[in-house]
Symmetry: C2
Subunit: 242 residues, 2 copies
């Protein structure tokens, strides 16, 4: 499985994904699930993927192909599309087409329907920051002030902390802490989500990937945070009275 | 859905269940999901249920029927069975038979296979405390010192706190706190789990339901704990540095 989470805050967009993929339990690999599409000063888009690697890789490859096409226009290329809404639509359509094609190849294998979902975050010049969750069917929902975060993959373990601390006015610093702690809970409770992690921030109106970094297994800062959070939870637990 | 959790600790067994059932989103009711079978001084058994109400109610009714049967023996009645293992087997078999019968009635409705799972906890005289999770197919797994808790229903939201604090030597007081906080996280993040709650404790070698209580919506102690935990999490969150 996978865990990816995106936050849309007043100060910007915060994205975090793990990198573990598995085909069965004995075929585990590391694949990047966070993809950047950027023309600094004009637009910055981050896509995160969950689901069948065959579907997500092909979808991303086709998005790149469409961008490179000399005939690319605002209806085919996410680097030319006139709005984030249009970008989400192109990605959703590409995902659906890819899924349908693969499903057609597998039509003799009942119940084997490879699927995938995506989170799309970004902003283009003269537009607003937007954050979408794209369903396997290509339709999508958008983060709002009431629900400033979206998750794909193994989302349940890490939801309680987000429910409690993430608001639109949460700072980017706190937001990064929140997604890392949300991931930390997921890593501890579910083997199918694994290090390293990819973390990215697009500041509001920055129109570029403001910061991005890979957090490797054993990263000292992440481990320290993880231990500090465990200790804080245990101390809080001891203090609570029933 | 449902959330039920059982802990097997050195000091005893701790069980907690919610009471929400729903058929669709607009048909929500309250049903008890925790059932006691007790002959004080001889045996104490708690069953918690998750899944289709038609399956779980019928299974529980049949277990009662088998107990009342004048010909009841140690192979049919959980109040006569010679071991907790035998008790788990009877419950698993009854669950499977019930599921199969209902599925047979619904054979024309493809994909409509009502299912259920259960947690069984208890101890009988001269035996050890045991805690089982019974699958819809009637087979089961047992809690061990390595994994001293079992969950059914919406188990993911409330797993991180259990992973962090529950050990076999956790006190019964702390264990009750742990399951209530685990439930609190689940209640906050998932609408299909709801108050009131049923909490029960079987102390080691007590051979009776040592304590049991219903925690109603708005219970002052539970609300206070919930608020204190939220505040503690937020304070811990603020203190963590990345």
């Amino acid at each position: 499985m996978t865990y990816c989470v995106g936050l849309k805050l007043n100060e910007g967009l915060v994205l975090l994904s793990d990198t573990r993929t598995n085909a069965g339990l004995d075929n585990i690999s590391t694949y990047r699930k966070m993809f950047f599409f950027e023309e600094p000063g004009e637009r910055a888009i981050v896509i995160m993927t969950a689901g069948s690697l065959s579907v997500t890789q092909t979808t991303i490859a086709r998005l790149h192909e469409a961008i490179s096409d000399p005939d690319a226009d605002e209806n085919t290329s996410i680097m030319k599309a006139g709005s984030m809404l249009r970008i989400a639509t192109i990605i959703g359509d590409t995902l659906l087409d890819t899924r349908r094609e693969i499903a057609e190849h597998m039509r003799d294998m009942q119940g084997m329907a490879p699927s995938a979902s995506m989170i799309v975050a970004g902003q283009r010049r003269d537009g607003h920051m937007r954050l979408f969750l794209i369903y396997p069917e290509g339709n999508f929902i958008e983060a709002t002030d009431d629900t400033p975060f979206l998750q794909i993959g193994e989302h349940k373990y890490g939801k309680p902390i987000l429910d409690r601390v993430v608001r639109p006015d949460t700072s980017l610093q706190d937001a990064q802490k929140a997604v890392l702690l949300s991931m930390d809970s997921t890593l501890r409770s579910n083997l199918s989500v694994g290090m390293p992690l990819d973390l990215a921030v697009i500041r509001a109106d920055d129109l570029r990937i403001s910061t991005s970094r890979r957090i490797e297994e054993g990263d000292p800062a992440f481990m320290e945070m993880s231990v500090a959070w465990s200790n804080a939870l245990r101390e809080s637990f001891i203090k609570i009275r029933i």
